[in-house]
């Protein structure tokens, strides 16, 4: 099925906002910045089966920046892995929907939240896929702040050393973290050169919230299979993308409040009504 990715991404954005608004507070900025890559992955690139979330040979996705769970859940529910109603018990006690990614939720391939770990798990999956020879591609999404964790670079070295060219990673390079800008706190630049130096193919996407650019980058990354190198796609994104007042919050968008009124206004803008 061919989806209108731009329209799908709008629906997912609205669901992310609605789901977090149910709680009243959450990781809005870093959830909204990755909606477009999630859209491209789940509605175009990935071989998955919502009716059989554990289908052997499926492609895998690990959201290593586990706090963006609301974006992953909204995407999975849109794709048909579970009912949309489930988005509205986010962080409710006993509901089994923690906002940090949890693999007990249909379609979530790995639990994540302690930064740096999900990426290593994805590397393990890529190794597993190669050993099983199931032809799957393993995708991982890293935060830029998360990339300050030493474990990320342990994994980067290992994946290149083991020639895991069935692994495609993304960096959500929105350049903001909880306490300030990435440049101020502990700069990652030059990020692409770092990954290249670690033995990875690197693709830089100037507009990391543009589904067409992301789609082209994923096709290019997939074509790298056989190169003997994993691929890092650096997505230059905007934290809070799609909602002006959240983008305007800058650093404060990492975790912020949203009320019903703000939600309605944001949805109206996204839907263009």
């Amino acid at each position: 099925m061919n989806w209108d990715l731009k329209e799908v991404s709008k629906d997912i954005r609205c669901d992310v906002l609605s789901s977090i608004a149910h709680v009243g507070v959450g990781h809005l900025g870093g959830s909204l910045s990755i909606v477009d890559v999630l859209t491209v992955l789940y509605f175009e690139a990935m071989k998955v089966n919502p009716q059989d979330p554990h289908m052997p040979g499926r492609d895998r996705f690990v959201c290593s920046k586990g706090h963006a769970g609301p974006a992953v859940y909204a995407t999975l529910s849109r794709r048909g892995f579970f009912d949309r109603e489930r988005l509205f018990v986010l962080n409710d006690g006993g509901a089994g929907m923690p906002s940090h990614c949890d693999m007990h939720i249909p379609g979530v391939d790995m639990t994540a939240g302690s930064l740096g770990q999900g990426f290593s798990c994805a590397v393990g999956m890529a190794l597993g896929s190669r050993l099983e020879d199931d032809g799957a591609t393993v995708y991982a999404l890293l935060g830029d702040g998360e990339s300050q964790e030493g474990q990320i670079w342990e994994s980067a070295m290992f994946a290149a050393s083991k020639k895991l060219d069935n692994l495609i990673a993304f960096t959500d390079y929105n350049k903001l973290q909880s306490d300030g800008t990435v440049a101020q706190i502990n700069d990652l630049a030059p990020l692409g050169a770092k990954w290249a130096a670690f033995g990875w193919n690197v693709i830089d996407v100037a507009s990391g919230n543009d589904v067409d650019e992301i789609s082209a980058a994923v096709r290019q990354a997939k074509a790298n299979r056989g190169s003997g190198k994993p691929t890092m796609v650096i997505l230059n994104t905007v934290k809070g993308c799609g909602v002006q007042w959240i983008m305007d919050l800058g650093v404060a968008s990492h975790s912020c409040n949203i009320n019903e009124e703000q939600l309605k206004a944001a949805i109206a803008v996204i839907k263009g009504v």
Binding site: S114, S120, V123, G124, L131, E154, S155, F158
Partner: protein, 308 residues
């Protein structure tokens, strides 16, 4: 035969039988006797280099793919160094990862204080969803590894690497992962022990028997989940307890036993590491400075009985 030789042989058998059993190293395969597995099973042995955090999570990722990874290194590097990876990616995510820590407690000897983990059991015991096993000899080690292979959840194997006296009869030994092994019946004092000190417990019991003190020696190979029923039954039988703990007396076997016996009015003593770091030296020296020699155990046993 050295414990590591049996460990490696047992791993090899499991890998031969099941291509999903894999071993991961952090540049210490040579120390664990597993180096030869790399040639024999090139698709089941992976050296992660000196990067234990990545190793633990790669193992978790492999487990999500149906593999059964065993990760190994010296005790401090597979426990305290990667505590969070074990807690979240292995235990919280309930992945079938077997964690092997070798040279526990004072047995790190010449590697000294930096390589001595006196807290590994305490650290891991406070994480839910992990089984902790410390074998006392090669027979128990083999039985434990087979049981852990069949147990498809997180587990920690605390492994003494060198040679140990064989205490169990391989022809008759029946291992139950979740039950203690009573190795000697007694009526005056119950000694709880795991790992290499098990031989000391038996030797102490023999010495004490000549003084008219009858010791029950109970091997607690599985420290978590501890066999509550077995511990309580053995403690009540004699009315006095001595724990032998190659670990800080805070958090290890002794603590586990105390937690079980908290409601019992039974005096509990301990021979173990008294909340201090390790230091370099050979085992006789370390036993002496830590108060963990056979004579220390015998003396502690006499005192323990007098507390009744």
């Amino acid at each position: 035969m050295e414990m590591r030789a049996v460990y490696a042989a047992c791993l090899a058998e499991m890998m031969e039988k099941d291509p999903h059993v894999v071993v991961l190293d952090a540049d210490l395969s040579g120390s664990h006797g597993t180096k030869k597995l790399y040639e024999r099973f090139p698709n089941q042995a992976f050296n992660c280099g000196i990067a234990e955090q990545n190793m633990a999570c790669v193992a978790a990722g492999l487990s999500t793919y149906g593999f059964k990874p065993w990760i190994e290194s010296f005790t401090p590097f597979t426990t305290r160094r990667i505590c969070d990876q074990i807690a979240i990616s292995v235990c919280y995510a309930d992945q079938n990862v077997k964690i092997v820590g070798s040279d526990p407690g004072i047995t790190a000897q010449l590697n000294g204080g930096t390589h001595m983990s006196m807290e590994d059991i305490g650290v891991l015991r406070s994480i839910p969803n992990i089984v902790i096993v410390e074998p006392a000899d090669t027979v128990q080690l083999r039985a434990a590894m087979e049981a852990l292979d069949a147990y498809e959840h997180p587990a920690y194997l605390r492994l003494f690497r060198k040679e140990l006296p064989v205490l169990f009869d391989e022809n008759t030994y029946k291992f139950d992962l979740f039950k203690v092994d009573t190795m000697r019946e007694g009526s005056d004092l119950t000694i709880f022990v795991s790992g290499f000190m098990t031989k000391d417990a038996l030797d102490a019991a023999e010495i004490l028997s000549k003084e008219g003190i009858s010791c029950e020696v109970v091997n607690v190979h599985t420290i978590k989940p501890i066999d509550r029923e077995g511990v309580i039954r053995a403690a009540r039988k004699t009315g006095a307890v001595l724990d032998l703990d190659n670990h800080n007396v805070i958090g290890g076997l002794h603590s586990a036993v105390l937690e079980v016996l908290a409601a019992e009015k039974i005096p509990c003593s301990v021979v173990g590491v008294q909340d201090r770091f390790g230091e370099v030296g050979k085992l006789p020296y370390l036993r002496e400075v830590m108060g963990m020699r056979l004579e220390d155990i015998v003396e502690a046993a006499r005192k323990a009985v007098s507390l009744k």
